[in-house]
C-alpha cells in the first residue's frame, strides 16, 4: 500500500493512494457544511462535558459547571408536585373521612396517594397486594381485629399495635396458657375452638373443652367465641385465621400466645398521608 496520491483515469478523481485487491479509494471530499456540522458537534460535546456531569472519577463524576444533577431534578419535581397538591393535601388532612364523598377530589387523591404510602411503608408486612400472611393481617377480607371503619383503621395506622413508642397504641395480651393449663386441657380447648369454627374435631374432647373455654377464654373471646373488637380479641368462629387455624397452630397459640406488633405511624407520616392510607385500606374490599 503506497500513500502516493494518484489520479483515477476513469473518473478523473484523485485517489487516496490506498489500494486493496486492486480497488482504489477515491478521494471524494466531504461537503463543507457536513464537516462544519461535525466540528460543531465536537465543540458542543466539549462544552457539554464541561457544563454537565461527565467525567467519571474514582468516586462519582465531575459535577459540571452548571451544577446539574438528576437527583436535584427529581427533588425539584417532587417539590413541584407537592406544591401542586398542597391544597388537596390540606383538605384531606382536615377532612372527616367518613363524610368524604367518593367522588370528591380529596378522596380520589387519598386513594391513589394512599396506595403509594402503602407500598412504601406497609407492604413489607402486609404484602404488596395487602393480603398479609401468617401473623400479618389480610387487609382485603371482611374480618377486622380492631374494627374496619374508617375511624378504626385511622386509629390503628396512627397509633399502631402493642408498640412501645405510642402510649395510645392498641394493646391486648393473651396469656400463655402453657404455664397455667396442662397439655391435655390445652388440647381439649383446641378441639373446642376447631368445633367453634366448624372444622373437623373430636366431639368428646371439644365437649370437655367447652368448660375450660368458658373459664379461661370467654372473658376475651366471648361466650360463643365471636371475639371482641374492643380488646382486639379475634373472632374464633369465622374462617379467617391470623396465625392459621389448624390444630397445631391453635394449640401453639393457646400454649405460647401471640404478640404481633405494628409500629405507630403517627410520628412518621403526615396527617394527610395517614388519612390517605386509611382511605386506601378501607376501599380494598373489606372496609366497613
Amino acid at each position: 500500500m503506497d500513500d502516493k496520491e494518484t489520479r483515477d483515469p476513469v473518473t478523473g478523481v484523485d485517489t487516496t493512494g490506498h489500494e486493496w485487491d486492486g480497488i482504489r479509494e477515491l478521494n471524494n471530499p466531504m461537503p463543507r457544511w457536513w464537516l462544519w456540522t461535525l466540528y460543531g458537534t465536537i465543540v458542543w460535546g466539549i462544552g457539554y462535558a464541561i457544563a454537565y456531569p461527565a467525567w467519571p472519577l474514582v468516586q462519582g463524576a465531575t459535577s459540571g459547571l452548571l451544577g446539574y444533577s438528576t437527583r436535584g431534578e427529581v427533588a425539584a419535581e417532587i417539590a413541584a408536585v407537592d406544591a401542586r397538591n398542597a391544597e388537596v393535601s390540606a383538605t384531606l388532612a382536615a377532612a372527616d373521612l367518613a363524610a368524604l364523598p367518593v367522588d370528591d377530589p380529596a378522596y380520589q387523591f387519598g386513594v391513589s396517594g394512599g396506595a403509594a404510602v402503602f407500598r412504601a411503608n406497609c407492604s413489607q408486612c402486609h404484602g404488596a397486594g395487602a393480603a398479609g400472611g401468617v401473623g400479618y393481617p389480610n387487609l382485603l377480607d371482611d374480618s377486622w381485629l380492631w374494627g374496619g371503619t374508617l375511624d378504626d383503621i385511622e386509629y390503628t395506622v396512627r397509633h399502631g399495635i402493642r408498640n412501645d413508642i405510642d402510649a395510645d397504641a392498641r394493646f391486648s395480651q393473651m396469656p400463655a396458657f402453657g404455664e397455667m393449663l396442662t397439655k391435655p386441657e390445652i388440647a381439649e380447648i383446641a378441639e373446642h375452638v376447631l368445633a367453634l369454627s366448624g372444622q373437623d374435631h373430636d366431639a368428646a374432647k371439644a365437649e370437655a373443652g367447652a368448660t375450660l373455654f368458658a373459664d379461661n377464654c370467654a372473658s376475651c373471646h366471648g361466650e360463643t367465641g365471636t371475639g371482641d373488637r374492643e380488646q382486639g380479641a379475634p373472632d374464633l368462629t369465622d374462617a379467617i385465621w391470623l396465625y392459621s387455624g389448624t390444630r397445631e397452630a391453635v394449640t401453639e397459640t393457646i400454649t405460647n400466645a401471640r404478640f404481633g406488633v405494628m409500629p405507630a405511624w403517627g410520628p412518621r407520616l403526615s396527617d394527610a398521608e395517614i388519612k390517605a392510607v386509611t382511605l386506601y385500606v378501607h376501599q380494598l374490599g373489606g372496609g366497613e
Partner: protein
C-alpha cells in the same frame, strides 16, 4: 468544477441554477406540486361531525387524549397497529414505485422536491432565469443585489412559516389553534414546532436543496436495491447521441486528458451499471458521423441536482425528467425524434442498439417483482380493512388480580377480584352492564356501583374493580382454578361481548 479534487478535505457546495423548462413532465410536476400542497394545507380545516363531546376535525392527531381521528375512523392507542400498518404499506408502496419507475417518489412527490421546486419558482420569479441568476451570483454586492436577495429570502421565509404553521393544525383544533397562535396564547410546543419546521424548510429548500438528497437522505442509498435492469429510469440513449455533434473535438481532447491524468470532474458518484455507465465515459466512439446530441447542455442546465445525465445513471438523479423535457424540446427544434433522454430500462439497451423498438411500458411496470410487491402491499391493506370492519364497537379487557389470587372471607367464601377496563368510543356517556355469563352460582359485585351497570363517560376508558365470590364449599371455591366468563353489554347499542377469565379457588393453596 475541478477544485473539488484538489486534495482539500472538504468541498464547498457548488451553486446550481436550474433553468426554466416546459414540457409534459414539468406539467405533471406542477400538477403534483399543486395537489400535494393543497392536500397539506386544506386537510386540517375539513370538519367532520362526531357528536357533541368529540372534536369535529376530520383529521386530527390528538396526542393529549391519545386519539387519532381520520374521518369516520377513530384510532385508540391500543389500536396503533393501524398506524403501523399504514406506515408499512407506505414503505412497500415506495418499493412498488421504485422497482417499476425508479426514484419517482423523489422526483415528483417528496416534500423536499416539492418545496424546493416552490422555492426555485420564487427564485426565478424574483431574480430571473438561469443566466440572470448566474450573473447576479457573480456580481459584487450592490443595492439591487441586496434588494433581490432580501425579497427572495423574505418570500421563502413566508412559505417556510406557512409550512411549519400548517403542520401544527393536524394536532389540535385548527380554528382554535390559529386564533390562539395569533394572539400568543398557543402552547409553547406549537411555537417551537413552527420555529423548527420554518428553519428546516427555509434552510433545506432554500440553501441545501440537492445536498439533502445526496448526503442526508438514506433513500438514494437503499433504492439501488429496489431497482433492477428492467426498471424504467431516466437515462440517455448514448448509442443514439454519441458522438456528440459539436462536442466531438472536445471529447477527443477529453480522452487525451484522461489518458494524461488530467481530471474530468463529475459532481456525483456514478452508479456502475454495466453497459450504460461506461458508454458515457468511454472515450470517443468509433463512429465518425455525429450522433443526435448537439451538446447544447440544455439537459444539464435544467437539472435541479446539477448533474449531467449523459454521464450515466447517477446516485444524485431523482428521475424528475426535467432533462427529458429539455432535450425533447431541442430534438423537436432540430427535427429529430424525441427521446434522446427518456425513461428507459437498461435491459432494453441491447435491442435498442440493434435498432428494435423498446418493449412496451406495461412489460416494465407489470413484472414479477412489482406484482409481488403489490401483492404484499394488498395483503397488508386487506388485513387492515378487515381489522377495521370487524373491530368491536365495545372494547373490554378483563385482568384478574393475581396479588393475592383470592381472598377468604369470614364465612369461608372465596373471593376473586378483576380489573375490567371498559372503553366507550362514543361521543356520549354510556352504561355498561357487567354480569357473569350463564348461571355459575357465583356472585358479582361492582365496586362503587349498586346495580350491575356502570357508566363510562364519553370517549373515555374506565377501570372498574369487580369482585366475584364463590360460596364456602362450592366447587369453584374448592377447585384450583375454574373458568369464568363475563358478559358485558352496552344496552344503548345492544352490543355485547363475552370475555373469559379464570377463577382461583382454595385448591391452589
Amino acid at each position: 468544477m475541478n477544485e473539488s479534487n484538489s486534495g482539500s478535505l472538504y468541498a464547498a457546495r457548488e451553486p446550481i441554477f436550474p433553468k426554466r423548462v416546459s414540457g409534459k413532465f414539468r406539467q405533471l410536476k406542477w400538477w403534483i406540486l399543486g395537489i400535494t400542497l393543497v392536500i397539506y394545507y386544506i386537510t386540517p380545516w375539513i370538519r367532520w361531525d362526531r357528536g357533541p363531546s368529540l372534536p369535529d376535525q376530520a383529521v386530527l392527531v390528538d396526542l393529549a387524549h391519545r386519539r387519532f381521528y381520520f374521518f369516520w375512523i377513530q384510532i385508540w392507542p391500543h389500536e396503533f397497529y393501524f398506524v403501523a400498518g399504514l406506515l408499512i404499506m407506505a414503505g412497500i408502496g415506495l418499493f412498488i414505485f421504485t422497482s417499476a419507475l425508479g426514484r419517482v417518489w423523489c422526483g415528483y412527490a417528496c416534500p423536499q422536491t416539492v418545496w424546493t421546486d416552490l422555492f426555485i419558482l420564487v427564485e426565478r420569479w424574483i431574480e430571473g432565469d438561469r443566466n440572470a441568476r448566474v450573473r447576479l451570483w457573480n456580481a459584487p454586492w450592490s443595492a439591487r443585489k441586496a434588494r433581490l436577495r432580501l425579497t427572495k429570502w423574505l418570500v421563502w421565509l413566508m412559505i417556510a412559516v406557512a409550512t411549519g404553521g400548517a403542520w401544527i393544525f393536524y394536532f389540535a383544533d385548527a380554528p382554535t389553534l390559529l386564533r390562539d397562535f395569533l394572539t400568543f396564547q398557543a402552547p409553547v410546543v406549537a411555537y417551537s414546532t413552527v420555529a423548527v419546521l420554518t428553519a428546516t424548510t427555509f434552510i433545506f429548500g432554500g440553501f441545501m436543496r440537492e445536498q439533502i438528497c445526496i448526503y442526508m437522505c438514506p433513500w438514494p442509498r437503499i433504492q439501488a436495491a429496489m431497482m433492477d435492469p428492467d426498471t424504467l429510469t431516466v437515462a440517455y440513449r448514448d448509442w443514439r447521441g454519441e458522438p456528440r455533434g459539436k462536442g466531438m473535438r472536445r471529447r477527443a481532447a477529453a480522452a487525451e486528458t484522461y489518458a494524461g491524468g488530467e481530471t474530468g470532474g463529475r459532481r456525483s458518484p456514478v452508479i456502475p451499471v454495466p453497459g450504460l455507465a461506461q458508454a458515457a465515459v468511454a472515450p470517443v466512439l468509433a463512429r465518425e458521423t455525429p450522433g443526435d446530441c448537439i451538446d447544447c447542455n440544455a439537459c444539464v442546465n435544467v437539472c435541479p441536482m446539477g448533474i449531467d445525465i449523459r454521464d450515466g445513471q447517477q446516485m444524485a438523479c431523482i428521475t424528475c425528467a426535467l432533462c427529458i423535457d429539455a432535450c425533447d424540446e431541442v430534438m423537436v427544434k432540430i427535427g429529430k425524434p424525441r427521446g434522446l433522454i427518456d425513461y428507459l430500462a437498461l435491459s432494453d439497451e441491447p435491442r435498442e442498439r440493434a435498432g428494435d423498438p423498446p418493449r412496451p411500458i406495461r412489460q416494465h411496470v407489470f413484472r414479477f417483482r412489482t406484482l409481488l410487491y403489490t401483492a404484499i402491499w394488498a395483503v397488508f391493506g386487506l388485513g387492515l380493512l378487515w381489522a377495521l370492519f370487524v373491530r368491536p364497537e365495545i372494547d373490554v379487557t378483563v385482568s384478574p388480580i393475581r396479588n393475592p389470587q383470592f381472598v377468604t372471607l369470614s364465612d369461608g367464601a372465596i373471593r376473586n377480584a378483576y380489573d375490567i377496563r371498559l372503553r366507550n368510543k362514543h361521543g356520549d356517556e354510556r352504561p355498561f352492564r357487567i354480569v357473569l355469563a350463564e348461571g355459575s352460582g357465583l356472585a358479582v359485585t361492582l365496586e362503587g356501583a349498586s346495580g350491575d351497570e356502570v357508566m363510562v363517560p364519553a370517549d373515555m376508558t374506565a377501570l372498574h374493580r369487580v369482585y366475584v365470590t364463590a360460596p364456602a364449599g362450592s366447587a369453584p371455591a374448592a377447585a384450583d382454578a375454574s373458568p369464568v366468563s363475563f358478559l358485558i353489554t352496552e344496552p344503548v347499542s345492544g352490543e355485547s361481548v363475552e370475555v373469559g377469565s379464570v377463577f382461583n379457588g382454595k385448591g391452589s393453596e
